[in-house]
């Protein structure tokens, strides 16, 4: 049992501890993001620009087709509502007061002293969302959450906890974005997710930051017997630096995790994106799929599978396209087997779009730009469901831009 005292001590000691990967940011250059904001009862009443910002990260202001919505601006909750009465959705601070037992879940998967970003988030007493699907409850509609950066030169600290109880099913769409007038800021996001026996969590995250934003998510997912976790991560817009390495721990027999990562690194962007799966129980499975493109930025696609239990099976697939010679793609797959009866495989390829493929489509009458666009679209299509039309349109536009930049 971790006491508040000891956590605080550990966090304080880690305040200068650099992260293992990614550009080093000096957090002293950023002030703490405001802890208060205007509460919005109805997201529909937001101005058109804000609504568009939400839509572009998959968050529907009308709440239509969603079981609930929570919006956080800077370090404050600006909206929280649920239409699916069976699901719990509320600000984490509120949930901690409501459920005494929740403290055992908090800072349990992510150590407070992992690095200075986790330490800062802990010491700032970060708020965020709490979502819980009670035993046997299966969401029909996804819960949507939005983490918005509303102020300049600040660091936003977020702490989320998601719990899927036994045999429950939960779909979550999280969009992260920046108000149009914010250029420079930091986002630190802690997420602890629990998927219990037979439960399913389908988690989709869309990032839509701005050119001078630094992003440091810290995510751990704990899976019990027969649990399933599907993670879709999409970041197609310019950003300064994202470094994340979510870790799924398969602790129960037959657990399954899949990570789909779709990312575009624009000039000036550094994307250090990984996913890690630890096979701690027999018969567990995982698939890690990463499709990344650089149009001039740097992509580091990491993937790690650590096999500690027999009859586990994992496959890691990193494919990276380099659309011009200013960009860099680095694929770093790591496989580790600590038992004999296990099958971990990987497949990594980085390089340009095959000329032959472009010309094949051109011979059917497509222009070079259309051909590249079609190949890029196909490359990025790993079959993510539940993306609203507006976001799909925005994705298509981004892909069309990428097609142009490859010329």
């Amino acid at each position: 049992m971790q006491t508040e005292e000891s956590l605080k001590k550990r966090a304080k000691a880690a305040l200068r501890k650099e992260a293992a990967y990614g550009e080093k940011f000096d957090l002293d250059e950023y002030s703490i993001a405001p802890k208060e904001t205007k509460y919005t009862d109805n997201l529909n009443e937001l101005d058109e620009k804000s609504q568009r910002t939400l839509l572009n990260v998959g968050v529907v202001p009308s709440g239509e087709g969603r079981g609930g919505s929570l919006v956080m601006v800077d370090n404050a909750i600006s909206h929280s509502s649920v239409s699916d009465r069976e699901i719990e959705l509320m600000p984490l601070h509120f949930a901690m007061q409501k459920h005494d037992w929740l403290k055992d879940y908090s800072w349990n998967l992510v150590p407070v002293d992992a690095d200075k970003y986790t330490a800062t988030s802990y010491l700032e007493n970060a708020n965020g969302y709490f979502i819980r699907a009670p035993e046997g409850v299966k969401t029909k509609l996804p819960i949507q959450t939005c983490l918005l950066m509303g102020s300049k030169d600040v660091s936003q600290t977020v702490h989320n906890i998601v719990i899927v109880e036994e045999n429950a099913r939960l779909d979550v769409i999280t969009g992260c974005s920046t108000s149009s007038d914010v250029d420079k800021a930091m986002h630190l996001g802690i997420s602890e997710m629990y998927v219990k026996k037979g439960g399913t969590l389908n988690f989709t995250m869309i990032h839509n930051w701005a050119e001078q934003i630094g992003v440091r998510p810290r995510t751990v997912i704990h899976l019990e017997e027969g649990a399933t976790f599907i993670n879709n991560y999409v970041t197609l817009k310019a950003v300064k630096s994202i470094q994340s390495y979510p870790t799924a721990r398969l602790t129960g027999k037959g657990a399954f995790a899949r990570f789909n990562t779709i990312a575009v690194a624009h000039p000036g962007s550094e994307l250090d994106l990984g996913s890690r799966v630890i096979f701690d129980a027999p018969d567990t499975k995982a698939e890690l799929v990463s499709r990344t493109i650089t149009t001039g930025g740097t992509v580091i696609a990491r993937g790690e599978m650590i096999g500690n239990a027999v009859q586990s099976k994992g496959h890691l697939e990193c494919h990276g396209l380099v659309l011009n010679s200013k960009g860099t793609q680095r694929a770093i797959p790591i496989l580790e087997a600590n038992v004999d009866d296990i099958e971990l495989t990987h497949e990594a390829a980085v390089g340009r779009i095959a000329r032959e493929q472009v010309e094949y489509l051109m011979a059917r009458g497509l222009s070079e730009e259309e051909a590249v666009g079609m190949i890029v679209r196909g490359f990025l299509d790993v079959g993510i469901s539940g993306i609203p039309d507006e976001l799909q349109k925005d994705i298509d536009e981004t892909i069309a831009q990428i097609g142009k930049s490859a010329m």
Binding site: Y360, M362, A363, G365, S367, M374, I375
Partner: protein
């Protein structure tokens, strides 16, 4: 329709075609015969404009227009359609999506059915397709494209016996429709240039003229059936001595 004049082509610094001259008139189906490595594929790829085939001299005219230096898509939109010998795996590009883009308003359902391609609609083009499936998918796309001239590179090669009938007869339908005599075909207006190593395709489509290509040059031209017969009897070596005799 298509006219090739004194075409000399290099690939990777090596001359593969030398002073090639040939013609495909409106409504005509001409074939190119020739041994392995003669340069047949190089010729067709050059006609479509694929990169790597460097035109050193000569000219390609299509409907009277000089297309020698046009891009591939400009040639395609002007009405040239090709089935290459070994199309690439198009990972991520679903047959359905490309077909829709090529066909526009055209309904391809029936064609897809007759080519037994319905179940391939959601598949990535050519990925894991058998030889026959690749050709059938190419034919479906060509039908959607509906070009004025078809370029086929050994449509019968690498195809299982089951597929060859449907491929042969579909090629005939696309190029000639119902018409069997050259006069009629002129009215129908579609042309084709078909590379065939074995001549098997002549079981399905009536051709008007044959060219024999050896070592990158056209050796002779003539009646397709007669020439095929002669090659079957004497082999391609004879073409070279024959050409020498004529000179």
């Amino acid at each position: 329709m298509l006219e090739v004049k004194d075409l000399t082509v290099e690939v990777g610094g090596k001359e593969l075609l030398k002073d090639v001259n040939l013609k495909v008139e409106k409504g005509y189906t001409n074939i190119i015969l020739g041994p392995n490595g003669a340069g047949k594929t190089a010729l067709l790829m050059t006609l479509m404009g694929f990169s790597g085939y460097k035109i050193v001299s000569g000219q390609i005219l299509f409907k009277g227009e000089d297309i020698t230096h046009m891009s591939i898509d400009e040639r395609a939109t002007r009405g040239i359609g090709i089935m290459t010998q070994r199309p690439p795996n198009m990972t991520g590009v679903k047959l359905k999506n490309l077909l829709k883009l090529i066909a526009g308003d055209k309904d391809m359902e029936q064609m897809a059915e007759s080519l037994d391609m319905i179940r391939f609609m959601e598949r990535d083009i050519n990925v894991g397709f058998s030889g026959g499936e690749i050709k059938r998918s190419e034919l479906l796309q060509l039908a959607a494209q509906s070009p004025c001239i078809y370029l086929f590179d050994e449509p019968e090669s690498g195809v299982d016996l089951m597929s060859i009938d449907i491929i042969g007869s579909t090629i005939n339908d696309l190029v000639h429709g119902d018409s069997t005599c050259p006069g009629d075909r002129k009215g129908h207006g579609k042309s084709a240039l078909i590379i065939t190593h074995t001549g098997k395709i002549l079981d399905y489509i009536e051709a008007d003229r044959a060219y024999v290509l050896c070592n990158g040059t056209i050796m002779c031209e003539g009646n397709p059936r007669e020439m095929l017969q002669e090659i079957k009897e004497n082999g391609y070596e004879e073409c070279i001595t024959c050409k020498l005799k004529k000179a």
